[in-house]
Structures are given as C-alpha cells and as structure tokens.
C-alpha cells in the first residue's frame, strides 16, 4: 500500500514536472505560428487563430539565416563534443585515481558552479580580446566548453564512481590501459549520464547563442524576447 502511494506520488510529481516544462515550449511553438499582433494577446491562446507561416518564411528568407543557422549548429556540436570529451576525462581521473592535488583540483572546479556568469562577462571579454578570440566561432566554443566543464565533470564523476571497480580490474588483467578502460568501459557504461550531460550542454549552448546573435532571426525562439515589456513603453 505504502509502496503504491509512493509510486503514484512519484508519477504525479513527474507529470506535474512535465506539464511545467513542456507548456512553455508548446506555447513557444504555437507563438511561432502567430502573426506579431497576436503574440501578446491576453488571455494567451494556445491554438493560433489565425495561424500563419509568415514567421518561418521570413526567417528562411532573411539574408543571413543560413549562415547563422550553420554557425550555431557548428558551435553547438563542436562545443558539446569537446565539453563531453574533456569533462568525462576529468571525471574519470577523479573517479578512478588517487593522486596528490585531487581534492584541491576538484574543489576549484566547484567554483565554476557557484560563480555568477554575469560577473565574468567583462573579464572574459577582455581575455578573449587578448587571446584574439573576439568575433570568432572558436572564441565562442572556447568559453562555452570552459563554462560547462564543472557541471559535466561533476555529473559524470558521480556516475563513473558508481561503476563496479571489478570491471576495471578485469579489463586491466586483459591488458587494457587507462585510456582503454575509460573509452571502452566507463564511457559505454555511462550512456545515460553522458546523454544527460550532452543535453544540458547543448541546451546551454543554444541558449547562449540566441543571446549572441539577435533572437529575431530564429522565428521559433522569438518568444522570450517579446515576453519582456516593450522597452519603448518605459520611455525608450
């Protein structure tokens, strides 16, 4: 009985969470089919009346759309791949080795989680300037990867640590070195964690990119920028 309550409780919580998470997304999709005059209508309408494809045709015909889209895709894919690779390597070191400096390095990484990113904007911009990374896709990738390292390492380390050590021993007896054990054992066994980390990183990346370019070129991401009260209403 108690178990049944617990299970149904968890389902309820999950469904509740799902509704909260998915509703804004559905609303965004619905908004992308509305003409601008109806975007802010109150009460909000989920089924656009009248529906229009003009936002999409406008996005696709905008001069630089293809370039922006391609750039975003490249940055998101490269950053995510690099971040997962680099952070899973770090996570593996933390989960499977003991070495001098392990604690201090791990705690330093934790700083990446607690420092508000907005305060790093200016120092990072100046750094990017001196490294010659302004206005380059590599610059974006550089900072996205760095910004996602802490969380990914943290997530993956926990997962790697929970894998049975016996498997490592067995593989080592078969002549597997550390890289093999990481790449052929830990990584394949951690697919769920790697998938989670990948989604997180990709999501963070895309959100960041929307801030980078101007949001209006992506009809589908149009919504958040409009949610903010019209700036001119405050006197421009």
């Amino acid at each position: 009985m108690r178990r049944r309550i617990a299970v149904s409780g968890r389902y309820l919580a999950l469904i509740f969470g799902l509704i909260i998470t998915v509703t804004p997304f559905l609303y965004m999709v619905s908004t992308s089919f509305k003409s601008q005059a109806f975007v802010l209508s109150f009460p909000p309408e989920f089924i656009p009346r009248p529906a229009t494809l003009s936002n999409y045709s406008q996005a696709l015909t905008t001069q630089n759309f293809k370039l922006y889209f391609l750039n975003s895709l490249i940055v998101a894919v490269v950053s995510t791949t690099a971040s997962i690779l680099i952070s899973s390597m770090m996570a593996y070191a933390f989960a499977r080795f003991r070495f001098p400096g392990r604690e201090i390095i791990f705690r330093t990484l934790l700083i990446g989680l607690v420092i508000p990113a907005v305060m790093l904007l200016i120092p990072q911009f100046i750094l990017a300037k001196y490294l010659g990374l302004l206005n380059s896709l590599f610059g974006l990738i550089f900072f996205y990867v760095a910004g996602s390292l802490s969380l990914n390492t943290f997530l993956l380390r926990g997962f790697f640590a929970s894998l049975p050590l016996d498997l490592d021993h067995a593989m080592q007896v078969d002549g597997g070195n550390a890289w093999t054990r990481y790449w052929r054992l830990a990584m394949p066994l951690s697919k769920p964690a790697v998938a989670t980390a990948t989604c997180h990183t990709m999501g963070a990346c895309i959100r960041g990119l929307i801030n980078c370019h101007s949001a209006r070129h992506y009809s589908i991401y149009y919504f958040p920028a409009l949610l903010r009260s019209r700036p001119h209403c405050r006197g421009g």
Partner: protein, 227 residues
Amino acid sequence: MAARLTVGKETVSRAAQLNKKSSQLRARIQKNATPYLFLAPGVLLFLTAVIYPTLQALKMSFYDWKIVSGAISQFIGFENYIRAFRDSHFWLSLSKGIWKGVGWAMMIFLAALQGVPKELEEAADVDGANRWQRFKAVTLPAIAPATTFVAIMLVIGGFNVFISVQLMTDGGPIGQTDVLLTYMYRQAFSFLDFGYGSALSAILSLVVFAFALIQLRLFRSRSGEDI
C-alpha cells in the same frame, strides 16, 4: 611507439603488470602520471577561461571600478563588502533566492524519502536503533544521491531563475521581483557599478560554495568515499 610517448611509466611496467594481482592497481597508478594526463586539457582550459576571470572579478570588488580600459580605478579595500552587508535589499534578495531553492529542494527530498525501503527502517528498528540512529544509518544514505543532486541544482536553478526574471520583469516594478542575480546584474550593467556587483557575487559564491561543500561531505562520507 606512440604509447611510450604518452604513458611512459605504464608501458615500461606493462609486461610485469599482466601477471600481477589486480589489488596492486591502486598502488601502481598512484605514482602514475595518467590522472594528470586525463585532467590536463580540462584544467588548463578551466584555469584560463574561468579561474583567471574569476580572480579579475574578485579584484574589481576591492575597487571603485571604472569600466573603461585605461581609466584609473580607486582601491577602496572592503568598502564594497561593507556596503553589501548594510544593503537590506541584498539580504532580502538573498533570502528570497534561498527560499525559492528550499521549496524546490523539499520536493526532491520528499520524493527521495518516499523511496527509502520500509524494510530497512524496520530492520533498524528491530536492531534497537533509536530515531536519530535510524535516520543516520538508513535514511540519510538512501537519500544521499538526491542530496548531491539538490546541491547542484540549487545553484544551477538560481541561475535559471535569473533569465526568466530578467526577461519578464527586469526586476521591476520597484525591485519586488529581484532575485539576487538580477539585483547584481542591475548594479553592474544598469548602474555600471562593477565593483559593487563583484562584491555581491563574491559573497553569494562563498555562501553557495560553503553549502555545496557541506552537502558533498555529507554525501561522500555516507558512500564510503573520502573527500
């Protein structure tokens, strides 16, 4: 051989290793350069792109920071921090942020507590454990994964709140919807007071860092791993 170049020590001892018991694994890798090789790319990137800017931001917090490159900023010691401790709006936003996180964290804990097997608690009961012992020995380890998760998400959650609040209200009408990060953001980017904004973020980071460390320690000591 490529292997010799990258993991010298390991290759040299490989032949001998094959015949040895796996219990020697730890002893061997302790002396090894391998973990450092695994860490090197990430740590280098992290030090350059995150830690160095963090130190710069920390430096700003001790100055009446003039944004423009070349302008001379005045060193004012702990003045920004003193101002922060007297800033009632800051403490209000801080408590609000924590409060928001608490509600959320309670939900996770509640869900986790429901997942603690009844049998274990009963077994502990039979063994004569009192409530506190039972909590320490059974409940806490069972909800430990949730604890770490909450520790991380409290932090990340705080950042996400910033974005929606910033977009929807800009902290307005009179700062009622300010969470700490919007308040910080306004100090820095609306009022161009980066010294103060940095001091606020340093305090926030310290608070959250302490929380995270405590929670980590709690979790780790339960799972038998040492920190």
